[in-house]
Symmetry: C2
Subunit: 372 residues, 2 copies
């Protein structure tokens, strides 16, 4: 059987990611490939570092994009910062906190878990207590914006508590970067990773990553080699560093990095504050419309992410049937629930290029019609 | 300072990869992004599996693309197949054999190294001896086509020896897939990884990977968890498997997979045998021209890769100056030497779409003019 080219339809992506991609990003993606050690490409990577520093609001010299999806960015943080026997406090209020725990254990670390209900923010008091109980804990790991529930945690406060107890922080900012304030330097976060396919509206496959000097120091004091060669950031740094000759580590995903560069140029041109405001505006429009339809949010208003709206599926409504109808009739994707919310909630993303009135209008009208 | 869009020049890529990309692949890359759980995308992934099975010449059910570059494909083989204390025979005749050794040690395995001179093939007799000497060895790892030297090893014979000693094989086919015969099933190879950016002429960032049933059995008999969550193929399988409901593991690099699908459709349409012949033809043209220029090959004719031509830099010639002149004046990239060949050799790639008479002609004329 002969297989032919795959020609995808044009969907409107309002799930938990990938988000709607900027047309300029798709254009950038298909520009001619150059060598990954080409001087012009190295210049592009230097710009990309600066653009990522802007997005993360950091001056960290180590600010790069991991050549793999957000899960690899998460793993890059844990394998570099955790050594066998290290105790790590993991805050778990959704799927990605649980994945962090898995990562700690696979590094030979000891995970101390603080649980919060799915759909709520991490409770700083519980973190404070846990750290008081166990002074051997050296790292606090938490998810800033839980993609599985739409809950935003208070990264600034959690990092303050961690510092008070002399702990480094590992922060999942996959869904927060570019969508809500994330101030890496001001909040003194130590290891922060994100994803290209959420509020940056770039194609999926890359993970922006930044390490503070304290994180770098910890890595340099390791007694053992990092268990992953691919994710060993001391090796990766030789390739991304701006000084002198680049040393080959792996072949960079050239075209994907063009796309990320373009997405970040767009963010720079819009301005971070404007981007955050645009996400809030789109969320307010969506919220008003969903309330008219009688649809309720999973997360309380105070810790609700504007860019990821987890809402309960109305009683008596068939989850898969509605999502299928939206996809088939309107080419509109919304997300299913994940983990304990599977079958109970939908996740409606308003991320990056997707945080626009036309997307909100389409989603509301399509839902209204389909739910009737 | 405001950063603007990056507009790369059009280079002719004749280094060790990324290779010249098919225009159709760049087009595929910029098609509209769909969700990674979209039924149409899942259909595309099923086709991609079939196309990869064709390229690898295998019926292995576990045949996928790792969502990261070839180095991650390598690591996926080692972290899944090697447990702490396992003895692995690593054949080292270039940079990538050494990287395999690193991988074994970072998995807690014991690497027994068989060294062959850079630029030569792996000597089957040395492998036979090493396996006779140590019956505890359970895996034999080798590089089919050494990208750092241009040497082709006899994968069929090495795998036969491994089987005789009841060992599995891990095979680096990064530069061989699509360029020279690689018959996974006929040769009974167990874990084989490749890269998208070599003879498939797709953009860099993905690693085709196939596991035999014996490899899968070994993974299922593991006593410990795979140390990498991202590369744990028992989890990845839940996403790539064709049966029933896909389970979310990580967000697939949607557009990069479009590109790989397209590159493999082109390979299918041309036919593997024709592609191999085209690589040989381009190599013969290049060889004839280089000989006229008095340039000598690093690798003996019997184990020379047609798609990666490592040649000695002529006496008295400035390596960097020549490569720079080729790049600046002709927009032509050839590769520098790597490891012990740095400063001594160039690597001229004729991979995938790059294995054409026009590329050979450009390279020969540009070299002739520049070396005068």
């Amino acid at each position: 059987m002969t297989i032919t080219s795959f020609i995808p339809p044009h969907r409107t992506l309002m799930g938990p990611g990938p988000s709607d991609i900027y047309p300029q990003v798709l254009q950038a993606l298909s520009r001619p490939t150059v060598g990954h050690l080409d001087p012009l490409f190295i210049g592009m990577m230097d710009e990309l570092k600066q653009l990522l520093q802007y997005a993360f609001q950091t001056q960290n010299a180590f600010t790069i994009a991991v050549s793999a999806p957000g899960s690899a960015g998460m793993e890059a943080c844990f394998v570099n910062l955790v050594e066998a026997g290290d105790k790590v406090l993991v805050c778990r209020n959704g799927v990605f906190g649980e994945r962090m725990r898995e990562n700690v254990e696979r590094c030979g670390g000891v995970a101390i878990v603080v649980d919060n209900e799915w759909g709520t923010a991490v409770d700083p008091d519980l973190v404070e207590q846990a750290l008081q109980n166990d002074p051997e804990i050296k790292i606090v790991a938490f998810v800033h914006a839980e993609t599985s529930t739409g809950a935003l945690s208070d990264a600034k406060t959690l990092a303050e508590i961690a510092r008070k107890h002399d702990c480094l922080t590992i922060v999942d900012a996959v869904t927060s970067l570019g969508g809500v304030p994330l101030l890496v330097d001001e909040w003194q976060l130590d290891a922060v990773y994100s994803g290209s396919q959420k509020c940056l509206s770039c194609t999926p496959g890359l993970s922006p990553l930044t390490f503070s000097q304290k994180a770098i120091d910890k890595i340099q004091q390791r007694k053992t080699k990092v268990q992953s060669w691919f994710l060993d950031q001391s090796l990766v740094l030789g390739y991304w560093s701006g000084e002198g000759k680049r040393s080959y580590h792996h072949t960079a995903p050239v075209n994907s990095l063009y796309a990320l560069h373009e997405a970040l140029v767009l963010l720079q041109n819009e301005g971070l504050e404007n981007a955050w405001q645009r996400h809030r505006n789109a969320h307010e429009e969506l919220k008003a419309g969903l309330e008219k339809l009688g649809i309720k949010f999973v997360v309380e208003e105070t810790s609700r992410l504007p860019q990821l709206n987890a809402v309960y599926i109305p009683e008596g409504v068939d989850d898969a049937e509605v999502r299928n109808e939206l996809l088939q009739r309107y080419n509109l994707e919304i997300g299913a629930g994940l983990g304990v919310l599977a079958g109970k909630a939908w996740r409606i993303g308003l991320m990056g290029y997707g945080a626009r009135s036309e997307n909100v209008a389409l989603c509301l009208k399509a839902l209204e019609t389909t739910l009737k």
